[in-house]
């Protein structure tokens, strides 16, 4: 497999190394345990929790994991590993810890690079506390981004409103604010490339926030490469693994290039979960009647809520997170049946063991079953784990299905797909908006906004009034519309409107009852929709740039190569070959629908690896809130 972009592995390896006192972890299975305490701030927590579970932390010898700004008792015979951002408050707290002699030794790891002055603050606190020898190691980890999937990352979760779409696009933004936001984004992207160990070739459109980010990033990379002593991109600091012969392509786009996709209703499993349930950092939180589960990362326990972690180890999730929902429902049923068969097998063996000595026939069966029994016993933990995952997905899928049925999300999805692909509509938009049973007011607003965004011609005044009235009757908030109007006017000036390609949605008819008897998921009345592969705008842009295709949309994009000397900022790319690896980053926020589209695109291309990143991850309701705020100004 060409390429070294296996984000989860790279980030997880970096973290594990850090947790092993910055030495490569040994593979020895029966090694002496060394225990340690992990201290992190909220940023560190968000970075660690998608990659390492509590059990994995325990296995690495972490006995306690605590928040930096919490009451921590002195444990004087234990080394402590800190993983924090180098902010004022964090540094103060670390100095306080040093003064209070909380731990035996201190391994300080800063998520992004710490400044010299702050380092001196710590030095003087250490001197005052006579604890200089206790500060064993100090590291700049350059991990200021959150890896969610092997091919997806976001910049942050805490304080994401500081760099949200709203923050970047609000009308009253000052230059200084914008600078600060850009610096934050660029810092994270810089850390990302340091961790990756590669200097990319940057492409971006002109005239928006993406261009600003690209310019700053190029400058930062350039400065670092020129600094011979401290360069982070020398050969030794490269991560281990297969290298591609080419450098990766880094495509920066602005959210404004495609406003319909974040509002779109979706039909694939992961995107649906993000849309209808509370899903962030690979964790689903659902209201249940049951008690709280212990959650990783010392988060406060929530009453009567269940949290589920959807991780890389969950094979079902990895296989089906991009599948259309009906397929998921079927597969859960299949898994359940397989599990039941295996459970019966184990039960049968158990009963045979019980007959030992009583039945002549059993004794002869015993000899071949002993081997089966050993394998059954050793596979019991696997079986239990499988059951847990099946239960998890049953619960999650049921919750999603409830939302789909009550809000008629399949209808919305189909209609929006037709809008986005400019196919003929079999229902009128007004009917759906006026239908009191179909969806929440937010759903209707989303639908209308997509209609407005994708319409070639703006609707006439009278039509618009009609729609507005219908929306107000349905208790919708119309302020997002104000903003979208502005946006549409602006983009009309700038470029051609985004084309959503020819998608086709073929309804396969209603689910037959035959399939559903005995199934957990009664999907009667829910349409079985099958997606045809189509490319969303971001995917198309990537395709053009990666394959060196000429297209009016992307021909105008700027070209940055930090490795080359100044003066070659022409927009004629030097590299004529298609890229094998690419990273797409959406400034202003992204979502799982875009991600899934990219994943599907990658599957169709052999040997290419594409990573998706965004400054923040929002679902449609969060995005509408931001649009609402913007529209109210």
């Amino acid at each position: 497999f060409v390429g070294s972009l296996f984000l989860c592995c790279i980030s997880a390896v970096a973290l594990k190394r850090m947790l092993n006192f910055n030495a490569p972890p040994l593979k020895n299975t029966a090694a002496e345990p060394v225990w340690k305490v992990l201290i992190y701030d909220r940023f560190g927590q968000d970075i660690i929790s998608p990659l390492l579970s509590v059990k994995e932390l325990r296995d690495m010898g972490i006995t306690l994991h605590l928040l930096l700004h919490s009451d921590r008792d002195p444990i004087p015979d234990v080394p402590a590993i800190y993983f924090v951002m180098p902010t004022e408050e964090n540094i103060d707290r670390i100095c306080q810890d040093l003064r209070n002699q909380l731990y035996e030794s201190y391994y300080l790891n800063f998520i992004s690079a710490i400044s010299r002055s702050k380092l001196e603050d710590i030095a003087s606190a250490a001197l005052a506390a006579n604890a200089v020898t206790q500060v064993t190691k100090v590291f700049d980890q350059y991990l200021n981004f959150i890896t969610l999937e092997d091919d997806m990352f976001i910049l942050c979760h805490q304080n994401k409103e500081l760099i949200s779409y709203h923050a970047i696009n609000r009308a009253d933004i000052q230059d200084t604010d914008m600078e600060a936001i850009m610096d934050t984004i660029v810092d994270s992207l810089f850390c990302f490339f340091v961790t990756l160990g590669a200097v990319p070739i940057i492409r971006c459109p002109r005239g928006n926030a993406a261009e600003m980010v690209a310019v700053k990033l190029d400058k930062k990379l350039r400065e670092n490469l020129r600094d011979a002593r401290n360069s982070l991109f020398t050969g030794d600091s490269m991560t281990a693994g297969q290298f591609s012969f080419q450098r990766p392509l880094f495509v920066l786009v602005d959210r404004n290039v495609d406003m319909a996709t974040p509002l779109h209703h979706t039909w694939t499993y992961q995107a649906l979960i993000h849309d209808v349930l509370d899903f962030h950092l690979n964790r689903v939180v659902m209201e249940e009647g049951m008690g709280a589960e212990p959650s990783a990362g010392a988060r406060p326990k929530k009453k009567s809520r269940k949290t589920y972690d959807l991780t890389a180890a969950d094979k079902f999730w990895q296989k089906h997170k991009g599948s259309p929902f009906p397929e998921v429902a079927e597969s859960v049923q299949e898994e359940l049946d397989t599990y039941r068969a295996q459970e019966d097998e184990v039960k049968r063996l158990k009963s045979i063991m019980g007959l030992e000595g009583e039945d002549e026939g059993a004794i002869s069966m015993l000899s071949d079953n002993t081997a089966k029994l050993t394998s059954a016993v050793s596979s019991l933990p696997e079986l239990l784990e499988k059951k847990r995952l099946i239960d998890l997905h049953t619960n999650v899928a049921t919750a999603v299905l409830d939302h789909i049925k009550s809000r008629k999300l399949d209808v919305y999805f189909e209609f929006e797909e037709k809008l986005m692909s400019k196919s003929t509509l079999d229902k009128s938009l007004l009917d759906i908006i006026s239908d009191p049973d179909a969806g929440t007011p937010e759903d209707k607003m989303r639908l209308f906004l997509i209609y407005y965004i994708t319409a070639q011609q703006a609707p006439s005044e009278s039509d618009l009034e009609q729609y507005k009235k219908a929306l107000l009757d349905a208790v919708c908030d119309l302020s997002p519309l104000n903003y979208i109007k502005q946006w549409k006017a602006f983009t009309k000036m700038a470029a051609t409107p985004a084309n959503y390609g020819n998608s086709g949605v073929k309804p396969m008819g209603l689910f037959s009852r035959v399939m559903n008897t005995g199934s957990q998921f009664v999907m009667e009345g829910v349409k079985n929709l099958v997606l045809k592969q189509h490319n969303l705008p971001v995917t198309r842009i990537l395709d053009n740039l990666m394959e060196m295709k000429s297209h009016p949309e992307t021909d105008d994009y700027r070209y940055f190569d930090p490795k080359m000397l100044r003066g070659s900022e022409s927009s004629i790319p030097r590299n004529k070959n298609p890229f094998q690896e690419a990273i797409v980053f959406v400034v202003g926020g992204g979502n799982y629908i875009e991600y899934q589209n990219l994943v599907d695109y990658t599957k169709s291309k052999q040997g290419k690896k594409i990573v998706y990143g965004c400054s923040e991850l929002f679902n449609a309701s969060q995005f509408i809130k931001q649009l609402s705020q913007l529209g109210q100004k």
């Binding site: 970096a14 006995t63 004087p76 030095a123």
Partner: protein, 256 residues
């Protein structure tokens, strides 16, 4: 890729020190040292470390002797490192005692930690430390049980072999006996045949003998008769002769 800035930190420390000296701030380092020392060193950590060292000793011991323990023993018996079964049993026993002691030590530490009045965090920390030690112990026990399983398996295999060879020899013996029995029965058959033949002849002889006896009896009778007759004949001859003589005499007289 992480960057080690420890040296930078140490340089910062030097900078701060020089700066402080210049300003005139010094730190009473000795007082702080005493202050640090006066913190009671909790007995938990050294004890926990001790348990770990013990478990490591056990692990090293097991690994050291593993090759010998597991080896099946070659026929080239000049190998000095070959272990007898007694040695192996000894190792098993020692290892088990050791493991039990370690397990007890862990339990004891746990109970003590429960009873001690300490903060929740330290409790959790100690609990987790003990969990880690237990997992380590379990890993080492697994080593032990693995090699023991191999040995026991080999023992059963050996016994199997022995039983097989015993069965085989029994089978041979039985076959031999079977052969002999067959021969005996064959001989008996011949014998019976002969006896039957002789029966006929004996019957024959019997008949003849019976006949002969009869004849002899008759013969005896006849001889008796004959003797009787003979005797009677003689009497008559005698009478005749006497008569003749008398007749002669008479005749002579007459004439006279």
């Amino acid at each position: 890729m992480a960057v080690d800035i420890t040296l930078l930190f140490k340089a910062s420390v030097k900078t701060v020190k020089t700066r402080n000296k210049a300003i005139g701030i010094g730190f009473d380092s000795t007082k702080d040292e005493i202050f640090k020392r006066s913190r009671p060193k909790s007995g938990f950590s050294p004890r926990a470390k001790e348990v770990i060292t013990n478990i490591t000793k056990l692990k090293d011991f097991l690994l050291q002797h593993r090759k010998d323990y597991v080896s099946a023993g070659s026929l080239i018996s000049s190998d000095l490192s070959r272990m007898t079964d007694n040695d192996r049993d000894q190792i098993d026993q020692d290892a088990q005692i050791f493991m039990r002691t370690c397990s007890e030590a862990i339990k004891q530490l746990r109970n003590e930690a429960e009873k001690q009045v300490i903060s929740a965090q330290i409790k959790e920390h100690r609990g987790a430390v003990l969990d880690l030690i237990e997992t380590y112990l379990k890993g080492v026990c697994k080593l032990y049980s693995e090699q023991r399983a191999i040995r026991v398996k080999r023992m059963f295999e050996q016994e199997n072999q022995r039983l097989i060879s015993e069965m085989n020899s029994l089978v041979d013996e039985v076959r031999q006996i079977e052969g002999k029995v067959v021969e005996i029965s064959r001989l008996q058959e011949i014998f019976a045949e002969k006896v039957l033949q002789q029966e006929a002849e004996i019957d024959n002889i019997h008949q003849l003998v019976v006949g002969a006896t009869e004849n002899v009896k008759e013969g005896n009778e006849d001889i008796r008769e004959a003797i009787k007759n003979n005797a009677g004949f003689r009497v008559w001859i005698l009478f005749f002769l006497v008569m003749c003589s008398f007749s002669l005499l008479f005749l002579d007289w007459y004439d006279s």
